[in-house]
Amino acid sequence: MRDPILTREYLKRRSFIELSARDRAKCLFDSGTGLELAGPFDRIESPWLAMQDVTPEADDGCIVMRGTIGGQQAVVIAFAGAFQGGAIGEVSGAKLTAALDLARADNEKGIRTNAVLLLETGGVRLQEANLGLAAVAEIISSIIALRRHAPVISLTAGTVGCFGGMSLAAGVASYVVMTPEGRLGLNGPEVIEEESGVEEFDASDRSLIWSVFGGRQRYDQGLADALVDDDADQIAKTVRDLIAQGVPPVHRSEQIDLYRSRITALDNARQWNPEELHFRASQNKEENR
């Protein structure tokens, strides 16, 4: 990644981004242990899309899989970025919340169960508006209830990225893992351009987008805990390592004073460019050492 030249290692790697959501989930489990719950043949699909002339998907774009990772119980919930931009609807949100709540119930019974969220999502599905918003609220509560017992890992590999309400879900996770191709942010580029004008943000400028939302910037800002290559084996190992590490002593979202002081220190009367933000982030990192 640091040197994306076509070396032998680079060519030999198995891309994670190129895998379907189902295969992404599967490749994180100890070999052969990943079992899908509420799969496509259970046909738990959105009742709202067909009414609006949108073809539904049999799993509502949300894949729930259970098995072991590094010998520990784990549930992986993956969003299919290709279906409706991975956006959260009533059903996909309920699948995610139910999976997290079942994991919490197992933890309360003494069975340590970890959770991994593969977030490739534009946020709330507009066709399901309020139900999607309600789902995001439920998801956040469920993550916070679970993260006391076992780590909840958010992984955004790309290339859809993680935006809108679901970026808040990533924000309350125990660990955030990204690739340089992944993006993480509340308002996506096109939303910012639409709301504040092209002078504020040019959504057609890909290098600007990645230099603001991209995995490298987020990692250097301390908003992501691990930056990994687009390599299925490396990503699976990172997830295993974080699960082995367990619940962090303090969650990022509990450090309100730290992040509030950073926002206060930022002069918002002028436009900051990504390089300046990056420089500032590296200074903040030094101070935290």
Partner: protein, 97 residues
């Protein structure tokens, strides 16, 4: 969105179900499972309206060779006939693996 159904004669029993694809732009998902009786049935939901004849042509060609008594459901987001045919073959391959 348009929905239609097609039926074809079949000879072989289908033993295993399979699921391939995703309802993403230019793609589709195929759910293939054992049918209820000794015939094949296909239910299609597609976001691209007005292509019933194209669907029939692709399925006629597919069932020229495939004789499994399968119930197939297709959720389509505007896949081209070539992609539809490949996904159907992929679903059969996955169900016979």
């Amino acid at each position: 969105m348009e929905q239609f159904e097609f039926n074809y004669p079949a000879k072989r029993k289908v033993l295993k179900k399979s699921h391939v694809g995703v309802v993403g732009s230019g793609d589709l998902e195929v759910l293939l499972e054992p049918g209820k009786d000794a015939a094949a049935s296909v239910r299609i939901r597609t976001s691209a309206e007005g292509f019933k004849n194209s669907w029939k042509a692709v399925l006629d060609r597919f069932f020229d060779r495939y004789d499994g008594a399968a119930h197939i459901e297709i959720n389509d987001a505007g896949a081209t006939p070539g992609v539809v045919f490949l996904r159907l073959q992929q679903a059969v391959e996955a169900s016979e693996r």
